[in-house]
């Protein structure tokens, strides 16, 4: 058969070509192996360099380059293996064609690989949901957090259904409708009914999510002023890379602050023209009573930070010049959470969640939720903000007029 002869000729040509490149390939692989052997030998002769404690010095450098060289060679080897496999596939394909069989049907292989990917991917997603899904935060430890979790679960169910459905369709169609010479695609430019359907249905679902989301959001963020007044006020000032705390004294009111009043002894810039300031307390960790509303008053001194307490579903930015607050009610004490997680060392931690500089990753504070009695005990032990040094400093400063600066005070805690 003429056709067969032609293919044979082509095959012969290709084979010679590939044989040539193959011998080239093998020789280069040999060379590679030699090089690797050489390098490993070099590694063997310089054992001190492997454990060298410092990296300056030529010996350490040598071991480094060997390590890199080794990895590069490994990668090149992988490339060569892939090239060889590619060659073999090509030869196999040509052999098939020479025998008047159909060559490798790549289109079918790809279609099947999409099918396999669908199955593996679905299993992978299931695995992720169960394994990594079990590593996520425990149930919310605050009143509003429970609502957020509900909202989250509803959204998760809806989106998971859509996710699985659409991915099955996508890869399923790719698998089923693989191309063939025998078939023509179905000419379907549009279908108004189904298009309306899949515009309206997502719109309805999203409307439901928006309505519930808005209600939840408003409940969390729009706390009535009367409730804000009855809450425990805690003043948190963020700066690179720490959180400073101030608690109100017996009057339950925090004094005003003004960043311009900053000094070594008055790092928060508390304004002592405001009488409420006199009994304010400092603290090293945030301690709050359980089941009582807490209002965190935030400000930043230098750059934007973010007050983030994931266990309570609490987050609000601390912005220089713009006072913000977040009010919430913790419901699980630290001790209870320790028991629940079976981790005796557990502490709620406050994270900084807005990029703020080099130590952003380590800007933390312990946040402790305790029983009311314990809280009272703790708060009674806290030191007043108005330290002796500050008293001294202020007496000196009191002689000077401070009007120019006090004009700028922030109407921060006035409710």
């Amino acid at each position: 058969m003429n056709n067969g002869q032609n293919t044979y000729k082509i095959f012969k040509m290709k084979f010679q070509k590939s044989f040539f490149s193959k011998s080239l390939l093998f020789s280069s692989i040999n060379l590679l192996l030699l090089l690797i052997a050489n390098f490993s030998f070099a590694q063997g002769t310089a054992p001190t360099s492997v454990n060298a404690p410092t990296i300056d010095g030529t010996v350490a450098d040598n071991s480094m380059w060997i390590g890199i060289g080794y990895n590069v060679l490994l990668f090149l080897l992988v490339c060569f293996v892939i090239a060889v496999i590619g060659r073999i596939l090509k030869i196999y394909d040509l052999t098939l064609k020479m025998q008047n069989k159909k060559g490798i049907n790549w289109n079918s292989i790809i279609a099947m690989s999409f099918g396999v990917f669908l199955l593996l991917g679905l299993y992978g997603a299931y695995w992720e949901y169960t394994v990594h899904g079990s590593m996520i935060l425990p149930d919310a430890a605050s009143k509003h957090g429970v609502r957020i979790d509900e909202m989250f679960n509803i959204t998760l169910i809806i989106t998971t259904i859509v996710f699985v459905g659409t991915q099955i369709m996508l890869f399923g169609f790719a698998y089923i409708y693989r191309g063939s010479q025998l078939r023509k695609a179905y000419f379907l430019p549009h279908n108004n009914t189904i298009e309306k359907l899949w515009t309206v249905v997502p719109a309805i679902v999203l409307t439901i999510l928006v309505v519930f989301g808005s209600i939840t959001w408003k409940n969390i963020m729009d706390v009535p002023v009367s409730e804000q007044r009855s809450a425990l006020n805690v003043d948190v000032t963020a700066h690179q890379f720490a959180w400073e705390l101030r608690y109100p004294g017996k009057d339950r009111k925090l004094g005003l602050k003004n960043s311009k009043l900053y000094s070594i002894n008055n790092k928060l810039g508390v304004d002592f023209k405001d009488k409420n300031s006199y009994d304010d307390l400092t603290a090293d960790e945030i301690v709050v009573p359980v089941n009582k509303p807490v209002r965190i008053n935030l400000i930043a001194q230098d750059v934007i930070h973010s007050f983030y307490l994931p266990w309570f579903r609490v987050q609000i930015n601390a912005v220089p010049g713009l006072p913000t607050f977040f009010q919430f009610t913790p419901t699980v004490t630290t001790d209870d959470m320790r028991a629940k997680l079976d981790n005796p060392n557990f502490e709620y931690k406050l994270y900084c969640n807005k990029i703020c500089g080099g130590n952003h990753f380590n800007m933390q504070k312990v946040f402790r939720v305790v029983k009311e009695a314990e809280y009272q005990d703790w708060v009674s032990k806290q030191k007043p903000y108005l330290s002796d040094q500050l008293r001294k400093e202020l007496k000196m400063a009191a002689a000077q007029p401070v009007d120019a600066v006090t004009k700028n005070k922030l109407a921060f805690n006035k409710l």
Binding site: H132, P310, G321
Partner: protein, 632 residues
């Protein structure tokens, strides 16, 4: 429309109406042909190759910081050799880590997925698919590239200044970015970042204005707006979006420059930095966030919409089926464009802005999910009962849709302000945008590269290497980003240098190692692409004129790419670009240049909506020929 061009550009009359290529070429020097070229195809290639180089750089940066995240306690001497003072004793400096994150984000979002994607394919395809000899202003087009190139150089040069590149995150929120003393990355590096971005925006504006005016004024005869391929629609709305929103970024950046170097207080107020009280008063950092996200949010659509257009086109060609719901696709693009201007506040739910505003932005944000859903379903319907040909371009398009779904659905969580309280700035966000605008847009771009490579270089890329590249990248991207959702749900913040300081984050260390190795695998897989791309330019199989049997105009141009695109007259367009597998026609595609009079067998009443006379002729013909058809 072609006349409009020839009148405006007498040089082209001279060159092309005389068919004088030889005469033309002797005038071209190396400098005018390859460097300061005004030919849209060469500019597209310049954008593409610069974009690829920038993408490789950004990818290497990401591998560097992934190494830090995977092995926070290990010293890597080669890092010291490579980065010097930025990696003392072989461990990344925390500030430099932030610089890496910042520059990775900036390069990927702006330099690769905005300029590399729009710049390449808008330049290449707008004149070719609309039937124009070149862009409306070839000179502006050239300037656009060179501004972009300068911006790239300035951005990369920041690696060579004493304190390192900008480090405040790609969103460069002041005061961090406004106070040079706040971090090393806010000194010279930030100045270079701002300079680079101003030049970049200038480049985008020149490009955008060019794209819009070319699309509106220079379409060939018969090419009305509803006959344009979806690629062009994608580029068109993207350009409009860019022209309207990019200037706002410049405004924000200029004010930031004032704050940095002229002592103004647009964004600064009540600042105590390292123990010294600054005099600034009355500014608001939130103002910058508003200005930034007024661009920043449209920006993510600037990134994704060209990819959407490319994917729609590639899917139709390779499924051998018309894009399902062409009009719905266009209207959803327009809907996304309009809505994208009023959703920026969802990046700012927890800045302490008025809760009422948060509610408003949640509504607009979730509305934008509707056109996105419509597009997704339309792509699925395009595949349904198709006759799918799995070219690498098609595979990347399918990958695009998969990423777009996975990443888009998590947007429903983040767009909900109540849920955003706990998810904001965590790894959940990182996973979300890397899937929906990172991976998806990159896949759209790669689909475009594989599909239009023959148009750019006259040769084909190797398909088998394309398959390998696709699978490694596709699986790798999912392995990298899927687990990140769960880290976010555990409250792990993004932009953390190490997870070692918090007891609760230590459980994710092993996951981080896994993600890093998946990232390294996907990064190495790109070698397959780079090898394939650059070797195919010179040694690839020669392409035929219309290698994919596509309908659009660019495949009617000759294989050798000539200045002016068509040697003779520009072809006239008679039909929409998606007549694939039309019943009654002997082939499974009918190019846009084929008049209905030649396809009487396959014409449908729907084809003549706007021309009752022709419809009458067609019905008469059908009446005459219907018995013979029945015999068949």
């Amino acid at each position: 429309m072609a006349t409009a061009l020839t009148v405006n550009n007498p040089e082209l009359i001279h060159v092309h109406d005389d068919h004088g290529h030889g005469e033309h070429h002797h005038k071209e020097t190396f400098l005018t042909k390859y460097v300061f070229s005004q030919d849209h195809k060469m500019i597209a290639k310049q954008f593409l190759i610069t974009g690829i180089i920038m993408a490789v750089i950004a990818m290497i940066l990401s591998v560097l910081f992934r190494i830090q995240l995977a092995y926070p306690n290990t010293a890597f001497p080669f890092l010291h050799t490579l980065l010097g003072r930025f990696a003392p004793e072989g461990r990344l400096d925390p500030n430099f880590y932030l610089s890496l994150v910042t520059i990775h984000g900036t390069i990927m979002v702006f330099f690769v997925l905005t300029a590399g994607l729009s710049g390449t394919f808008s330049n290449l395809l707008i004149p070719l698919q609309l039937g124009a000899r070149d862009m409306a202003s070839p000179f502006l087009n050239m300037l656009s590239y060179w501004f972009f190139f300068t911006a790239c150089i300035i951005m990369l040069s920041s690696f060579f200044v004493q304190k390192g590149p900008a480090g405040g995150g790609w969103t460069i929120y002041p005061p961090l970015s406004a106070l040079p003393k706040a971090m090393p990355g806010s000194e010279m590096g930030m100045t270079l970042w701002l300079t680079s971005m101003v030049l970049f925006v200038a480049s985008q504006l020149m490009g955008g204005i060019n794209y819009i005016s070319t699309i509106l004024n220079m379409r060939t005869k018969g090419m009305d707006l509803w006959k344009m391929p979806l690629t062009i629609w994608g580029f068109f709305v993207t350009a409009i979006l860019g022209v309207l929103s990019f200037p706002v970024l410049v405004a924000g950046v200029v004010l930031l420059v004032f704050d940095r170097s002229m002592g103004t207080s647009f964004y600064l107020s009540d600042i105590v930095l390292n123990g010294s009280v600054l005099p600034n008063e009355g500014g608001s950092p939130i103002l910058f966030e508003h200005l930034f996200w007024f661009l920043g949010h449209p920006e993510v659509y600037i990134v994704i919409m060209p990819a959407m257009g490319i994917v729609s086109e590639v899917m139709a060609v390779n499924a051998r089926k018309p894009v399902f719901g062409y009009h719905a696709m266009v209207y959803s693009l327009i809907g996304i464009t309009v809505l994208s201007f009023i959703v920026w506040g969802h990046h700012m739910f927890v800045t302490g802005m008025n809760p009422f505003l948060g509610g408003v932005f949640m509504i607009t944000t979730l509305i934008i999910a509707v056109p996105s859903a419509v597009k997704t379903f339309n792509w699925l319907a395009t595949l349904w009962r198709g006759n799918i040909r799995f070219t690498p371009a098609m595979m990347f398009s399918i990958g695009f849709v998969s990423f777009f779904i996975s990443g888009g659905l998590t947007g429903i969580f983040l767009g909900n302000s109540a849920l955003d309280i706990n998810l904001h700035d965590t790894y959940f966000v990182v996973a979300h945008f890397h899937l929906v605008m990172g991976s998806a847009a990159i896949f759209g771009m790669l689909a475009g590269v594989y599909h239009w490579f023959p148009k750019m270089f006259g040769r084909l890329m190797d398909e088998k290497l394309g398959y390998l590249h696709f699978w490694l990248t596709f699986i790798g991207a999912y392995l990298v980003f899927f687990p990140m959702h769960f880290m976010g749900l555990d409250g792990v913040p993004r932009r953390y240098y190490a997870f070692t300081e918090f007891e609760s984050m230590k459980q994710w260390l092993s996951v981080n190692t896994f993600i890093t190795w998946a990232a390294i695998m996907s990064a190495l897989a790109q070698v397959a692409f780079l090898y394939n791309f650059f070797s195919s330019i010179f040694f690839g199989r020669k392409a035929s004129q219309n290698p994919w049997n596509a309908n659009t105009l660019e495949w009617t141009t000759p294989i050798e790419r000539i200045h002016g695109n068509w040697p003779g007259e520009i072809p006239t367009v008679y039909r929409w670009p998606y007549d694939y597998s039309k019943p009654g026609h002997d082939q499974d595609f009918i190019p846009q240049t084929v008049p209905f009079s030649q396809t009487l067998n396959s014409n449908l009443p729907h084809d003549f909506e706007d021309d009752p006379e022709v419809e009458k002729l067609q019905t008469e013909w059908l009446k005459k020929n219907s018995p013979s058809q029945e015999v068949k």
